[in-house]
């Protein structure tokens, strides 16, 4: 460990929903990761990843070029990227991976980037913060456990893995092979347990939140119906909170509960927290510091249990 306690530095790619709807995810990630020896440096001038559902559906070429521009910004900083959203991972990691391995795609992208004086070189890697937290090469479960000052004892917490971090697993490359299990993974449950909480399994936990692929915008009732199915399964296990690693899933579960109440007449009142927010809480950050009051569904019942 260096004198400052910082072992790793990453360019922090924010995306859209974390900084613009759940800023606590951004502040918690920066502070919590710093305590764990990882510094997240702002990636100046980054844009939307771009949204893989919307942009990917319209024109893959623009999707590649736009994601490549974000990658080049990090290449210019000579830093690997860390990000907090599965959707962003899909764009940024996957485009990086495809451009590294397909010369035809890389040439096409560089043809366009030349117009804006940029060149994609393929010199950096992309990581999700969940992956950094789980992999002991960077942080690891033990180190997280040691950093906890306010264990979330007694809280029953379920995990929503989301889709685009690990699926399709045949295209993904994780150092921790357990992360490639997309049928019944438990690595996130290990992270939850490290915070002192009780991880809870529930029926069909790997099901999608329903928001992706542009479906939330195209047919909100259809998207919410998928979310509602997950909420029914979660309710059966009487969980205190749901944790996720994707702000878009979080939006769908959090605001989605309000929309579900309006459209289907059912309410769940299930607090939904990004793992970064949970980690911040367990490391002693206050709910105010985490902006938990910005959540559509009150986190109070959960907070009463753990504070």
């Amino acid at each position: 460990m260096s004198e400052s306690g910082i072992n790793h530095k990453f360019a922090f790619y924010l995306g859209c929903i974390a900084p613009n709807r759940y800023p606590g995810v951004e502040s918690a990630s920066i502070k919590a990761m710093k305590k764990l020896g990882v510094e997240l440096v702002p990636l100046k001038g980054a844009s939307c990843c771009p949204a893989p559902g919307a942009f990917g559906s319209i024109d893959q070429s623009v999707f590649y070029a736009m994601a490549a521009r974000n990658l080049v910004l990090a290449e210019q900083m000579k830093m690997d990227i860390a990000l907090v959203c599965n959707g962003c991972y899909k764009s940024i990691w996957e485009v990086n991976h495809k451009l590294k391995h397909n010369k035809d795609l890389r040439d096409a992208v560089n043809e366009v980037l030349k117009e804006v004086d940029m060149e994609y070189k393929g010199t950096i890697n992309v990581y999700h913060t969940a992956e950094l937290l789980y992999n002991d090469k960077f942080i690891g479960v033990d180190k997280i456990r040691d950093s906890i000052t306010n264990p979330l004892t007694g809280a029953r917490i379920a995990v929503h893995y989301g889709c685009h971090l690990t699926k399709p697993h045949k295209d993904r490359e994780f150092e921790k092979e357990v992360m490639l299990n997309t049928e019944h993974p438990v690595w996130m449950e290990e992270l939850v347990a490290a915070l002192g909480a009780t991880p809870v399994e529930y029926r069909n936990k790997m099901q999608c939140c329903g928001a992706g692929g542009g479906v939330r915008g195209y047919d909100i009732v259809h998207a919410l119906d998928i979310t509602n199915e997950k909420l029914i399964n979660l309710k059966e296990e009487k969980v205190d909170a749901l944790t996720d690693i994707c702000p878009f899933c979080q939006l769908q579960f959090d605001r989605g509960q309000i929309e579900i109440q309006e459209k289907f007449g059912v309410s769940y009142g299930l607090p939904v927290l990004h793992f970064a927010e949970l980690l911040g809480l367990a490391q002693g950050m206050s709910p105010q510091d985490l902006g938990l009051d910005l959540h559509a569904i009150s986190c109070e019942p959960f907070l009463k249990k753990v504070l």
Binding site: L14, P19, N20, R21, P23, G24, E26, S27, L43, K44, G45, A46, S47, C48, P50, A51, P52, G53, A54, F55, G56, S57, I58, D59, Q60, V62, A65, M66, R69, V112, L113, E115, V116, M118, C163, H164, K167, P168, K170, D171, E183, M206, Q207, C208, G210, G212, G213, G214, V215, G217, Y218, D219, H222, A223, D225, I226, D289, L290, G291, L294
Partner: protein
């Protein structure tokens, strides 16, 4: 030429026609989807694992297996004009489980790209493009959030294109290279006036 195996020639011809071609079948479509999706849709043997894994299937008429068949048969119009094309949440469960190692999700995405080339696209997809063209973000900042960020010790605008708008011209140039903004504006105007 002497035939050593198979049905009589006339029957073979009849079966061949029944098997592969309908009047509205376009073999070029199958080839195009295969090239652009970078996966192998022609390997599909219609087992239905994809539809069985699909979160959209139980609550709609969307059947990913049917779309896979349409690709193999070259049924371009039938595939691209079906509104169910837009119900895939891109969860990749089908792609994870496909026993033929196909990525049906990427086949859907390719068909959506081809549909867009014919102006078939729901407007919400285009509005994400116009939002990003305007600010760099699909979900932009707002005043409530700016105040919250300040309270959390963050900058009012995140250090993205929001704080550094000087990065916007390059983004617009990339989008304009593909004439995407112009096309999005035109289609939104046609739909919404």
């Amino acid at each position: 030429m002497a035939r050593t195996k198979g049905y009589p020639e006339a029957l073979e011809k009849k079966l061949h026609e029944q098997r592969f071609f309908r009047e509205d079948s376009n073999p070029e479509f199958s080839k195009k989807v295969k090239t652009l999706s970078r996966t192998i849709p022609h390997m599909c043997y219609q087992c239905g694992t994809c539809t069985g894994s699909c979160p959209s299937a139980p609550r709609s008429t969307y059947r990913i297996r049917k779309f896979m068949r349409r690709v193999v048969l070259g049924l371009e119009n039938e595939a691209l004009t079906d509104p169910d094309l837009w119900l895939c949440t891109t969860c990749y469960s089908c792609s994870d489980r496909c026993p033929r190692d196909i990525l049906p999700t990427d086949v859907i995405m390719t068909m959506r790209n081809l549909a867009f080339q014919r102006d078939i696209i729901p407007v919400n997809f285009l509005k994400t493009v116009t939002a990003i063209y305007a600010s760099g973000h699909g979900v932009p900042n707002n005043d409530v959030n700016r105040a919250a960020r300040e309270r959390l010790g963050l900058t009012r605008d995140p250090p993205t294109t929001h704080m550094y708008p000087e990065y916007m011209p390059a983004i617009r140039k990339i989008i304009d290279h593909y004439k995407l903004k112009a096309n999005a504006d035109r289609i939104i105007k046609e739909r919404e006036g």
